[in-house]
């Protein structure tokens, strides 16, 4: 075999390998981005579910504790804010606000044993707690996906392909520091 042929063949082989590498890398970006989007939609589904539970809860509480207006209003307002939030950060903050408002409501409800014993209320609380847990899970999954994806975007040689095809870093579902801590409630009554 001539020298030239060998060089040609190895040249073709190298180009072939490079193309294969490139294609698989590109495809892995596409599927990673798809995974991130999918897990984000899971968060949104659960946020929506939570928002849908609120009116039901508010009505039940009103039936027993109608004069606790300010606490009820906080919950309703927080729910509205959540509906208006769009970016992951805004949604995370609004979600934490709602958690805070709900926690205050729950403290108030402690004073109404009849309400607490109401089966409808208990069921709602289970649904609400379940949804909160689902949000926590969806959030953890999403952030995990984002971390993997962002790593790909930043690392060489993926960074080349990311720059070429505009795969940008994704935003974590994380609220501003401290907002995810439930507020401490000061009992003015005791």
């Amino acid at each position: 075999m001539k020298r030239g042929t060998i060089i040609l063949i190895s040249g073709i082989a190298i180009v072939g390998i490079l193309i294969a590498m490139f294609a698989s890398n590109y495809n892995s970006f596409v599927s990673a981005e798809e995974d991130v989007d999918q897990s984000y939609s899971q968060i949104e589904t659960q946020l929506q579910r939570r928002a849908d539970l609120i009116p039901n809860l508010v009505n039940t509480v009103k039936g027993y504790a109608s004069h606790e207006e300010s606490v009820i209003k906080d919950v309703t307002d927080a729910r509205a804010n959540l509906a208006n939030a769009n970016t992951p950060a805004d949604q995370a903050t609004a979600n934490d606000e709602l958690t805070g408002a709900l926690n205050r409501l729950l403290v108030v409800v402690e004073n109404y044993p009849d309400l607490k014993a109401n089966q409808n209320y208990q069921q709602l609380m289970d649904e609400l707690a379940g949804t909160e847990n689902r949000i926590a899970v969806a959030r953890k999954d999403y952030n995990g996906q984002v971390a993997g994806y962002n790593k790909k975007v930043k690392r060489f040689p993926g960074s080349m392909i990311a720059a070429m095809f505009n795969f940008d870093e994704k935003e974590y579902f994380r609220s501003s520091a401290g907002a995810d801590q439930p507020p401490t409630v000061d009992f003015g009554t005791e």
């Binding site: 698989s24 069921q123 847990n133 689902r134 899970v137």
Partner: protein
């Protein structure tokens, strides 16, 4: 010379494999033993009770592909029941991979009564049959009263049967198990399928190829192919557990649905 190289390669593979395992597993949840349906690490159930639940679990899975599992542990090691149940659920892969129809009853028998907790975690696919409110009621009416009354085994069995009934109803089975003991025992322990009669040298060859592959992949392709391969391998491993012998999870997952109760 050849042997030394082989040994080197194999030990390298072992190191890599263990580092992967270290990344994935979160340590605390114990490895499942035997059929997935009963994982009684706290030692609450008698052999007969285990057999009964396993019989129910197998029957349900055979007819609906849904899996209900019980996990009892002495301690959650500081995790919340929600975190622990999710971790266990996903580790055991309860329910069918596509249908996600698994249910997990977790009971933590901590030393202090105040730390004791129970959780029923429901896979995506059964959230319609077992909404959180209903699950909470099962915990309130069956699990917690019997447990608090010093009958944790009864609590488990009754809860399991309730879950069984709900899932069976969802799939249109007219099986019900109220309280009669020993109703659903099937002795289906015959192993029909032997897994893998692969010769040792073949395994070694494959291991050697894999390790070379991983090294090349890691250094040039950022591990793309390795992860792909791992995905394929894990899905094979999951589907392989079907035949005879102990039954594993079906690869299902959960999104955090269900309800919890403290003492």
């Amino acid at each position: 010379m050849m042997r030394q190289k082989l040994f080197l390669i194999l030990s390298l593979l072992a190191i890599i494999a263990s580092s992967f395992a270290g990344n994935i597993a979160h340590a605390e949840v114990p490895e499942p033993k035997g059929d997935i349906y009963v994982q009684d690490f706290a030692g609450v159930l008698s052999d007969q009770q285990k057999q009964e639940l396993t019989g129910l679990g197998r029957k349900l899975e055979d007819q609906t592909s849904a899996q209900i599992a019980v996990l009892t542990v002495d301690s959650l090691d500081g995790s919340s029941p929600e975190e622990y149940a999710l971790e266990a659920f996903r580790k055991y892969g309860l329910g069918d991979k596509e249908l996600e129809n698994g249910v997990l009853l977790l009971m933590a028998f901590e030393q202090n009564d105040a730390d004791k907790s129970a959780r029923i975690e429901v896979g995506y696919g059964l959230e319609g049959a077992l909404p959180d409110g209903k699950v909470g009621r099962i915990l309130d009416e069956y699990t917690m009263p019997y447990w608090k009354n010093g009958q944790p085994d009864e609590a488990i069995i009754l809860t399991y049967k309730q879950l069984f009934n709900e899932v069976a109803a969802e799939y249109g089975l007219d099986e019900t198990n109220d309280s009669d003991i020993g109703s659903g025992i099937t002795n289906d322990s015959s192993s029909t399928e032997q897994d893998g009669g692969m010769a040792a040298w073949k395994k070694m060859l494959i291991a050697a190829i894999v390790i070379v592959f991983i090294i090349i992949d890691m250094s040039f392709f950022g591990g793309t192919f390795t992860y792909m391969l791992l995905h394929i391998l894990s899905s094979i491993a999951r589907s392989g557990g079907r035949g005879g012998g102990p039954r594993g999870g079906g690869g299902g997952s959960s999104g955090g649905g269900g309800a919890s109760r403290g003492w």
